[in-house]
């Protein structure tokens, strides 16, 4: 099932930095779609299209269509709050909010108007379990979130993106600051999560891309060079540039 359909997407920022040129891409549900390529290729920009986080940036031009569940989310008048509740995001640097562990998770629910403690408790346990963090923090939910280790913080961020039971999860280099063990935990978690979610991941390395991708899209300087199933693309790339990047000849 196609979850997100991207058609002729163009994006330019006012400072002329990173941009996207004529992107066509179908993101399938219940898969890990990996968006990879060297820095400045437009990967993060694309992710920030999917939850309209680009609204915070100085966008000069955006055109094309990005259809999610029959709605063109580029339309200015869509309910962006509803969209962001449906599309969770995890950032490269784990940013925990300056609150305790539990509040980091209940924050989004309380914004959505949820006040019942039982519902909040249930959501906290569920999301932490999904993010493989519950056992480590269940006895210290009221401690400041910054007291967690880097790897734990990033899994807390993952839990935070899951707490609203979104449909899509965007992960922008979620393991770039993590040690191999924490990275492994996050990757394993992603594998379980794709049963229920549509996952779009910007990996922090080609190796990670190859490890986790069901479907992969290679971006270079704002253009989508090649896309295909993970197996195809990493073993048998069609484009010379894709091959060179995967082989580590540049990047």
């Amino acid at each position: 099932m196609i979850k997100i359909h991207v058609e002729h997407l163009n994006l330019q920022y006012s400072d002329g930095k990173e941009s996207l040129r004529d992107i066509n891409l179908d993101v399938l549900a219940n898969q890990i779609t990996v968006v990879f390529g060297p820095a400045g290729g437009g990967k993060s920009s694309l992710l920030r299209v999917f939850n309209r986080l680009n609204d915070l940036a100085d966008v000069k031009l955006i055109s094309g269509r990005v259809v999610m569940d029959d709605v063109d989310i580029l339309e200015p008048k869509i309910d962006v709050t509803a969209l962001r509740r449906k599309v969770g995001m995890v950032f490269a640097r784990p940013v925990v909010l300056p609150m305790n562990i539990r509040s980091n998770l209940t924050y989004a629910l309380e914004l959505a108007g949820e006040k019942r403690e039982s519902v909040l408790d249930e959501a906290v346990e569920r999301s932490l379990t999904q993010a493989a963090l519950w056992d480590e923090v269940k006895d210290r939910l009221n401690e400041p979130a910054v007291s967690l280790s880097g790897g734990q913080q990033q899994r807390l961020c993952l839990a935070r993106s899951l707490v609203l039971q979104p449909e899509v999860i965007l992960l922008d280099e979620p393991t770039s600051g993590l040690d191999p063990i924490s990275t492994g935990k996050v990757e394993a978690t992603l594998h379980e999560l794709k049963e229920r979610y549509t996952i779009i991941l910007v990996p922090h390395s080609v190796q990670q891309a190859a490890r986790v991708a069901d479907f992969a899209a290679f971006f270079l300087q704002g253009e989508l060079i090649e896309q295909g199933s993970g197996k195809e693309l990493f073993i048998n790339p069609k484009d010379k540039r894709t091959e060179d990047y995967i082989m580590g000849r540049f990047g």
């Binding site: 939850n51 986080l53 950032f91 989004a108």
Partner: protein, 298 residues
């Protein structure tokens, strides 16, 4: 100048290790001396006023009205007046200043309009206080017919205080990491929810510090209340915001320059009360700031 040239010479042509160490010691010593010199005046002023003013301080001095043409008795109405003026200033300047700071930091984009607002704020801070006094006289006392009153004085002081509050509050708001805002927005918060639930609580100590520093300046000013609020002598405490009031800085000015045969210890006693009032506010600000720093989670 000669010294600075010598210093650049040292950096450009480092000599032998021994002479370099000597020069390093000399330079370091010089910097320590400059730092020490800057703290001398504050201690000197405080000590001087403390020594000369302390004999005047008594229960009566703090709780009685002046008598004998202000040469005897206490300074209660001036203390109360300064307290009222400070509160009045806060009522007008705090909501306005914090609101403006939130707008500038969280909502406004960088365009010609906001640059103009910022320029206005910077210039507002540069206006001499006596000009504020004259402005307050023209607008509040005469045009709006508030008369010489706590209201007119508070409004005048509030305008003078605004730039301090706006710029320190804006700085405090901007110090909150941008990442918190992005995260908050990304989980479906509106801009205002983000401000109210994340940014404001995190910047509150910084904002409070700015507010107190601004009010502290207002409490010690003479010129802005000279024409707008202050009276030389009043037989009773102000009964409403439209009453004139006595105030510590103005009282000090009057008893130091306008009253022949004024006992010196009362002058310094008044100065001491004023300086303690102001330093006390400063102390509160410092405590808030250091406590917040200890509890900050970023």
């Amino acid at each position: 100048m000669e010294y600075l040239r010598g210093l650049t010479e040292i950096f450009r042509h480092p000599g032998s290790s021994a002479s370099r160490n000597l020069k390093q010691k000399f330079g370091f010593g010089f910097l320590i001396v400059t730092a020490l010199i800057t703290v001398v005046p504050i201690f000197a002023i405080f000590l001087y006023i403390l020594i000369k003013g302390l004999p005047a301080i008594s229960w009566t001095f703090l709780t009685a009205f002046p008598t004998d043409g202000v040469k005897q008795g206490g300074i209660l109405p001036a203390i109360i007046g300064t307290f009222y003026l400070t509160i009045g200033t806060a009522i007008f300047s705090v909501p306005l200043g914090i609101g403006a700071a939130i707008y500038l930091s969280e909502y406004a984009s960088d365009n010609r309009w906001t640059r103009m607002i910022r320029l206005a704020i910077i210039n507002l801070a540069g206006i001499p206080s006596v000009v504020y006094g004259l402005f307050g006289l023209g607008i509040f006392v005469i045009f709006l017919r508030f008369g010489t009153s706590i209201l007119a004085g508070s409004l005048t002081l509030a305008i003078m205080t605004l730039p301090v509050i706006i710029s320190t509050a804006e700085e405090a708001l901007r110090a909150v990491p941008q990442a918190f805002r992005v995260v908050s927005i990304s989980v479906g918060a509106t801009r205002w929810q983000t401000v109210r639930r994340i940014v404001l609580p995190q910047s509150l100590p910084g904002i409070l510090t700015g507010v107190i520093l601004g009010l502290e300046r207002a409490a010690g000013e003479t010129a802005p209340i000279l024409f707008t609020a202050a009276s030389f002598f009043l037989p009773r405490l102000p009964s409403s915001p439209l009453s004139p009031t006595m105030a510590l800085p103005y009282h000090l000015f009057v008893i130091s320059t306008q009253v022949p045969g004024m006992p010196v210890k009362i002058q310094y006693g008044t100065a001491l009360v004023l300086i303690i009032f102001v330093l006390g506010m400063n102390l509160i600000a410092t405590i808030i700031r250091s406590r917040a720093r200890a509890h900050r989670q970023w």
